[in-house]
């Protein structure tokens, strides 16, 4: 009787040891798995941001040639890397429709006149156009990451009764902002 109890207790002890061991092995695998998952998904965020940066960089070089911004032949002969300021102001009114059109992570598009130099920064609106120097496609600031490129900024200017309407081109920078993947 005494012997049987001793064997039973030994068996129970072995099962308990085995169970603890197996739990430890399972936990080990789970921890390793979680570590691999976290590591691979942290790389994913980086590659998503890198792709967005690449998209913005390639977009900014060609944005001025896209039909919504380009001068086309509206200012005499055809021009490349030229933004039609009048068209861009009209586009500003349609910004809701064009939200996410050039990429869902593009946060804003700004065109800043840089020459001739103006003393103060005046953001363009329907009320003050063309006496302004910054056109913001969306009503928010470019924060964080942005990439820019030089462009010509042309518009139809009214020179009064003698000269009438004529083309006016200035130098500007186009800035494209993008959001980083969180």
């Amino acid at each position: 009787m005494i012997n049987l109890i001793t064997i039973d207790k030994k068996g129970q002890m072995k099962i308990q040891q085995m169970a603890f061991m197996l739990m430890a092995v399972t936990l080990f695998f789970l921890l390793v798995g979680m570590f691999v998952l976290v590591w691979s998904f942290s790389g994913l965020k980086e590659s998503a941001t890198a792709l967005e940066e690449k998209n913005t960089m390639l977009l900014v070089t060609k944005l001025a040639n896209s039909p919504e911004f380009s001068c086309g032949n509206a200012f005499g002969t055809g021009k490349i890397n030229c933004i039609d300021a009048d068209k861009t102001m009209a586009l500003k009114d349609m910004s809701d429709e064009y939200s996410g059109f050039w990429g869902k992570d593009i946060s804003n598009i700004e065109i800043r006149k840089i020459y001739p130099i103006d003393e103060e920064e005046i953001v363009c609106s329907v009320g003050n156009y063309p006496d302004c120097n910054v056109i913001k496609m969306y009503d928010k600031e470019i924060a964080g990451n942005y990439i820019w490129n030089f462009v010509s900024l042309c518009r139809k200017a009214d020179y009064g009764e003698e000269r009438g309407i004529d083309d006016k081109c200035e130098i500007a920078k186009v800035l494209v902002g993008y959001t980083q993947t969180e």
Binding site: G33, L37, N65, G78, D167
Partner: protein, 306 residues
């Protein structure tokens, strides 16, 4: 066998099964992610191909492994979406994913799927009457298109592109042992034998085994040749959505500048006609309005809108 052994074997097998299952799931996820990343990269790499004043541009895209490029189109939202999906060969097996990457500002015409390691990308602007967008035609180097009796300007354009898989002049360059898929594109009103694609250039019709489609401008002609009918028709509708938005933009520009007011009514007509396009056969009416505005714009002098 004692109970501890049986217990250890059962639980050990369960742990091993879980580990193998987890690893295989992780590999699958990584392959899906890689496909999504490649699809996004293709779309991004199309940005520098946008044309300025060029009539057409061609470029080559290489993949390190055998790849299938699936393209699709949907009409949701203001401009619809161009969908791209990639499937790549891994351990001699195609890894299929259902992850589509979408772009609102791209219009791709290609065989579905297009398969190979080397792909040619040909870009041409679509003007209707103003520049609407660049159209992208993706073809695999394994698919050869042979243009028979094409009009001079088409022959000249294809010749200038120097794209290896676009041939002219009776396809004499093709050798009898060529293993590539040859698609014969014949120009002329009467249907010729052996032609997979028949183009009636005068009546602006393209007939493929999917059926007949209508085109306006050479940019859409290439689209009708390289894409399947349903994708072509969807892209035509997306392009008309863009025509509508651009026409509204030019109409607002007139208000902004106060010049070119004689085109306002025509622009409204263009908006209305583009809005009702349900398939390519409706393009004739829109083209009629577009040609009229174009002649007015050309005569506008300093008040040119585009």
């Amino acid at each position: 066998m004692s109970f501890p052994w049986i217990f250890a074997l059962i639980v050990g097998a369960f742990i091993l099964f879980l580990a193998i299952y987890g690893v295989s799931k992780l590999i699958g996820t990584q392959e899906t992610l890689q496909s999504a990343k490649t699809s996004k990269e293709i779309g991004i790499l199309l940005n520098p191909l946008e044309t300025g004043f060029e009539e057409a541009k061609s470029s080559t895209l290489f993949f390190p492994v055998e790849t299938r490029v699936y393209t699709d189109c949907n009409l949701g939202g203001d401009f619809g979406r161009q969908l791209i999906r990639i499937s790549q060969k891994s351990f001699n097996k195609w890894v299929d994913t259902d992850l589509n990457v979408g772009f609102s500002n791209k219009y791709i015409f290609s065989k579905n799927p297009s398969e190979g390691e080397e792909f040619f990308i040909f870009v041409k602007p679509f003007d209707f009457p103003f520049k609407v967008s660049d159209l992208t035609y993706i073809t695999s180097s394994r698919d050869v298109y042979c243009f028979v009796n094409a009009p001079d300007d088409i022959e000249e354009e294809i010749g200038n592109l120097q794209q290896e898989n676009l041939l002219i002049e009776n396809c004499s360059e093709l050798k009898s042992n060529d293993v590539r898929n040859v698609t014969k594109v014949c120009f002329g009103q009467a249907r010729e034998s052996g032609c997979a694609v028949q183009v009636d250039y005068g009546n602006k019709m393209v007939e493929t085994r999917d059926g007949k489609v209508h085109f306006e401008t050479d940019a859409l002609l290439y689209g009708a040749i390289f894409a399947e009918k349903n994708i072509y028709e969807c892209q035509v509708r997306r392009l008309m959505q863009r025509v509508e938005s651009l026409a509204r933009l030019y109409s607002q520009k007139i208000n902004m500048v106060g010049c070119g007011t004689n085109m306002q009514t025509d622009l409204i007509m263009l908006i209305n006609s583009a809005k009702v396009v349900s398939d390519s056969s409706d393009l004739t009416l829109v083209n009629f309005v577009a040609e009229d505005i174009d002649s007015k714009n050309k005569a506008a002098g300093l008040c040119k809108l585009w």
